[in-house]
Symmetry: C4
Subunit: 279 residues, 4 copies
């Protein structure tokens, strides 16, 4: 108890802000989360004209309270850490900065207060707060699969863009500005809307030939949607398998060298050697 006091107030604050194992740390994290969610809701409501007119004063005060709270937290985070620069230029450091500054800038610049919506990024803290060890462990395979398929998906997107430019130009030549395909970039936009099966319908082909080519584009889109899915699916299965394989391979029979696959095995399945006896 005495030792803890000796560590000084900086250490105490550090424990509350960065720690997640103490009672105070947990409480701080939960309050922080509530404030973050609350601040995002306030920004959203502010953008609703009906709401803003009625409760403008309340929303504005809420905004300022949240901003001041975040500023205090930001300063405390810098103060109580040994190497402040490490935090300031980290991902969360920049996010924390961006979630306080815009409100102060709103004195000078109109519209900048909307940037406070970047506070949503702070929600990513929830992963740390909920001590998502299990989640991180589980999504590890996912991260590995994503990273393994990254270059492949980039090549895929690159092809997608080239195809879209070609098909978009073709559609522009066929349909033309009189049917809503105002320009090549606009047609490329339409092509991507169609290829990804989004299909707003703000522009849609009206000539028979245009509709025929649109049909072909849709079927292409339907076919190539399989590619990224197939890649991620296979890579994920592969990452999962590797992970599972690694879970058991560190145990060998001392007598005959056979690998023991099952964790609950007590005897070697090849020579009958008693495994537990000699551990």
């Amino acid at each position: 108890m005495k030792e803890a006091t000796n560590k000084g107030w900086r250490h105490k604050i550090h424990e509350v802000i960065y720690g997640t194992h103490t009672r105070a740390g947990k409480l701080f994290d939960i309050i922080l989360l509530i404030v973050i969610v609350y601040s995002i809701i306030v920004v959203m409501l502010e953008s609703l004209p009906r709401f803003d007119v009625k409760y403008h004063r309340f929303l504005d005060i809420s905004e300022w309270v949240v901003t001041v709270l975040f500023s205090i937290e930001y300063i405390l985070r810098i103060v109580c850490i040994k190497k402040p620069s490490k935090y300031i230029f980290s991902f969360f450091g920049i996010v924390d900065f961006l979630s306080t500054v815009p409100k102060y800038l709103s004195f000078f610049l109109v519209g900048s207060q909307y940037l406070t919506a970047f506070r949503a990024l702070r929600l990513l803290r929830v992963f740390r707060i909920l001590k998502l060890v299990r989640f991180v462990g589980e999504s590890n395979n996912l991260v590995r699969a994503m990273s393994a398929s990254r270059t492949k998906i980039m090549v895929f997107v690159f092809f997608l863009v080239i195809i879209s430019v070609l098909l978009g130009t073709t559609m522009y030549l066929i349909e033309g500005p009189e049917h809503g395909f105002n320009s090549i970039p606009h047609s490329v936009y339409w092509t991507i809307v169609t290829l990804t099966t989004v299909g707003y319908g703000d522009i849609s082909p009206e000539t028979a030939l245009g509709q025929f080519i649109a049909t072909v584009i849709m079927i292409i889109g339907y076919g190539i949607i399989a590619v990224p899915t197939g890649i991620v699916s296979a890579e994920y299965a592969s990452a999962k398998k590797k992970n599972e394989g690694n879970r058991n391979t560190d145990r060998f029979c001392e007598s005959c060298g056979t690998q023991i696959h099952r964790e609950d095995a007590e005897y070697c399945r090849k020579c009958g050697y008693n495994l537990s006896e000699h551990q």
Copy 2:
């Protein structure tokens, strides 16, 4: 025969209502199913203005007949069971209650009769009625896969929401209320419509920059649709494999009774008994 009579009328009713193996039980289940489907159709037709005007009297009587039948069934279910509280607070108990009460409430509250559409949930009984042992067995892998990928998909949805808030705010700033992006929540709604490739087209970007970002959102959506699919696909394959692995369950150690999982095992992994010697 005498024994059955001794068990009293409660037991008999129990056998008919809960049992699925006797003739009477089967008949009861089939009639129940028909009444459920009929009651849902009645609720649906009632909401059609043209139909309701013409056949209002008929539909109303149908509703009442169904409701009374369901009420009788509900009371019988409570009466004939030993621990009524167990049924009342079970999933089907609540569903059964909700499918009778709204009609009675319609005396006092307007609109409450539409809640009877919750009767659709009763259709889930069909799984029990059709004695879907085979189905449950087959969808077991599916359930296991779903449960294994639950946390991962929740993390995924969480990311989706954060991305949507950020991109939605960006689109609100670019397009603004003059192009239909009336507020941030509205823009977030649009972003999710686009990310999930639904694409209603009730709102669609009109500025060049907005369309460019919409294109990026679509490609992101196209890419991340691969993630849940990949997860479920891999988990399902893995659950299926495990299940197949467990299928080799016809081999037990003669000495200690432990199940032998690996086909190439020569010694029991629990007691070291020589399996091959005594075959």
Copy 3:
């Protein structure tokens, strides 16, 4: 040569119509395919008002020529086969019948000639004509995967319908007829349009709560699109594996009994026994 003549004209026709190995049989199949495609194009063009006005006479004559040709083929198919009833009630027998009759019925019934579009089903013959042994072999895994996942997908569709009824009713209660959700069946239709990520936009939620629930529905739809894909994907992989496994397992070393996995192996990989010498 003499023997062929003895078999009579029925046999000859049989060879041309049903055979695919002789020169005449091949020619017949190709002509048949061309006529089928031609007849479908004619039916399609007939439905185009502009085309029909201009070339009505030509299209009508084309229709009649095709119908008479199909009738002759149908009669010949019945005449030259030993058990006509087997053909008549087979899938293709019914399709062939349906592709001739509607035109004759058009004397009496208006609109029935459109049923001739069922001729499209005759296109399935292309699989037989192109001697798609390779295709059938390759799509065998696919067929097996589809059949293995049939019940599971049916269960899935059943759940989809129940969810749609519940969510559709909820949306009807929230949005109501004043925002285009005219009735419960109409709302259920909208829910399925949204869940399947089709998103026409003929109806779209207009209240804030409706848009929020729509968002939830989309994310659910986005999540459950993974389920059928995952099932088919895993079942297909499993069917493929089984098929590949079966391709090699019929070869064992005569000396030590080890299974020979590689088809080009000449010596046993376990005991060095010369495999080819003793075959």
Copy 4:
């Protein structure tokens, strides 16, 4: 150094244009890439009416500069190669030709300059320029998976078209021209828009029966989207596995030089040589 000079200027140009390992070759490739991207942007901007009016002169000159540069490059490519015909009729030879000619044709033909958008195909050069050995290696599995699933996906598309013709005709008969289903081809177009879950909403069913069938089509589309994804996913996993299997290629039989594929092999499968004895 002297030797390089002896090879003449043709060889030097060849090294710059076709080579990617020398400094000059790299620089040439990067400049080429920039010019290609620039020329595509120019073509796109030209199609924007607002831009074209303002900067018409600038865009036109840009176009001509790019075209002349491409023409020089095209001539040099032909001149410095030994067998010009091989280049001229190669994929890139034709693309290079098509990316210069349209501009010259624009003297005579209106609209032909839009064909210059085919320059986008030149972007495929980026794969060669970035020396994408790693990419090609990684996407090799993908190419193999695509090629393995080609016929199956073609069969799938063929079925899709047949189903669309049948369902499109059915919808035409139900909805008819009064609800926007003007003709059978138009209805088939709508069916494909629905099946592929694009859903523009330019046409949408209005009768109750039409909406019901649309619902069925959507669920079918939702189900069959699983098929190509499942195929590509499984084939990709299989190609990946094979590739990993082939990776164990560092073990050769000392006696006959045959590659040993299986890690547990003790004897060469070609000559029966004892592998383990001599290790």
